[in-house]
């Protein structure tokens, strides 16, 4: 429902029934293609639908990753980019855009460099966070923050040296995030990668419950916290790597979706994981609608929208926490 309406909204509005007909036509050969405008057809099928589908999977993945990290580091403020993955991706993308690094990777070199940047950042965080073979929550947080700052500095440096206004704008795309690059060729791999990651996290739902209760409790219940943390972090990084390389570093969804879901449905991960996925998807799809509509025909970076909507949620959360303690 939400998806159909969201597809119709934008600088060029298309009514929901027409949207359904166009999708039905493309997928199952239903309806007569003459009953709607050719431009509507192109907008819906080539632009909006892939964009909404990308928003849904990225939003769902960010929500699930947020839940996972909050349990792993036992800190309600953890979010998908706490591992430095976003700044790693931005640095990778900046290197590709501004200096042509990795151009031999072909047409998708920028996305691929963003992906490798994300994984590189994660490897660095894990190397720093390991102490005698175990990953502890506090070390992971500190290492993530340190690597984030380092790689943000690298990105700024790259922009400074490149002295190209156009290049700098392209890098901004990765920093703030956008669904505008969605197209049918990259959607399947995104769905596959992020979908598999989310299924794995759900598979380990009870381990998340136990980790969130404490390392000793986890240990006493047969879950090795250090090893489980490592496994989950790798899965999470893959998810974020896919999300960032397809849509840049979209902030706040991974923080806000789990918190709202937790308020509605409680902290048990069996329910919380699917709820956060649904809420994350919904939030991102509608944030993208807002990004398209607010300043039309110009488009806002989606990171700006999620920031403006997410900040009040964060403030409300902090206020609630201080009330409780």
């Amino acid at each position: 429902m939400s998806v159909v309406v969201a597809i119709g909204l934008g600088p060029v509005g298309v009514a929901p029934p027409t949207v359904l007909k166009i999708i039905g036509h493309h997928m199952m050969g239903l309806f007569d293609a003459e009953s709607w405008a050719r431009t509507d057809d192109a907008i819906i099928w080539e632009v909006r639908l892939p964009r909404v589908l990308l928003g849904a999977i990225v939003g769902a993945a960010l929500g699930v990753v947020g839940v996972t990290l909050q349990a792993l580091v036992r800190n309600p403020l953890a979010e998908p980019y706490i591992l430095g993955v976003s700044s790693g991706a931005s640095a990778g993308a900046a290197a590709a855009i501004l200096f042509g690094v990795g151009s031999w990777l072909g047409r998708e070199s920028v996305s691929l460099m963003a992906f490798f940047g994300a994984l590189g950042a994660l490897a660095l965080v894990l190397a720093l966070a390991r102490s005698s073979g175990r990953i502890t929550p506090s070390r992971m947080l500190v290492a993530g923050v340190a690597v984030s700052y380092l790689l943000s500095a690298v990105t700024s440096l790259l922009i400074l040296f490149a002295e190209s206004a156009e290049g700098a704008r392209a890098v901004m795309f990765w920093l703030l995030g956008s669904l505008a690059n969605a197209d049918w060729s990259t959607l399947p791999i995104g769905y596959l990668g992020m979908g598999a990651g989310m299924i794995l996290v759900f598979w380990w739902r009870r381990r998340l419950d136990l980790l969130a209760l404490g390392d000793e409790t986890a240990m006493a219940s047969g879950v090795d916290p250090g090893r489980t943390r490592l496994q989950l972090v790798v899965v999470v990084a893959m998810c974020v790597g896919f999300a960032v390389s397809l849509s840049g570093g979209i902030g706040f969804v991974g923080l806000a979706a789990p918190h709202i879901a937790r308020r509605i449905i409680g902290p048990i991960h069996r329910h919380l994981i699917p709820a956060s996925a649904a809420l994350g998807a919904l939030m991102l799809v509608w944030a993208d609608v807002a990004a398209r509509m607010v300043l039309q025909p110009r488009e806002l970076p989606i990171g700006v929208v999620t920031g403006v909507l997410g900040a009040p949620v964060l403030v409300a959360l902090v206020r609630k926490l201080s009330h409780n303690s």
Binding site: A71, R74, W203, W204, R206, R207, D209, L210, A212, L213, G214, D215, E216, T217, M219, A220, S221, G222, V223, D224, G266, P267, I268
Partner: protein
Amino acid sequence: MITATGIDLRLGAVDVLSGAQLSTRPGQVVGLIGPNGSGKSSLLRCLYGMLRPNRGAVLIDDAAIGSMSQRSIARAVAVVTQDASAEGIDISVGEFVLLGRHVHRSDYQGFTDDDRKAVLDGLDMVDMSSFADRSIHNLSGGERQRVLIARCIAQQSPVILLDEPTNHLDVRYQHEVLALVRRLKIDSIVVLHDLNLASRYCDHLALLDHGRVVAQGRPDDVLQSEVLEPVYGIEVRRLADGPHSHFAFGPLST
């Protein structure tokens, strides 16, 4: 059955345990006592894999603990930990006890009616059935310990380890919790501070000092002033009170 022998443990630059040994005894409550920093909790943590000793052997039913998965360790040993339920996520008592059943289910399996029955039985044994829907954050200290014990019962492991279960409890609950542990008749090791409680509820005591077990045996044999005074550095007097003895402590009169 757990047997630990010759345990050396270094944490950072500190020798926490040197040559400590400890075993469960069939159907009995073994008390682990000793001054602060003598290594009681550390020794207990070695028994379920939370800490890995630098030297020595921990055997669970004759298998080396290092060769076992965390899950098979947890099937053999249930633990009342110190961190549980004090912080962490806010779930209901029923869900919390149910998570103890994780050791019997692989990751993809949901919990079954057997698991839910084990939870009800566990809560029933500690008299907490009516608390199943209560949040674990809204429990008194005594209720919390009983819930932790219920989780161990639901876990159905043949051994229970308890890390200072009477901490932060008022006198009545201290007795209640330990009386409950005794009634279970499960092989258990309990870390205790209070020598009066140790004397009353344990079948066997091990006295730890500077990472070494310096005395071991029946409470009456261990709780002698010649044994305790050099370890605690205080004067100990035994007072007879019917079938039980009580201890009075004072500074050494030297």
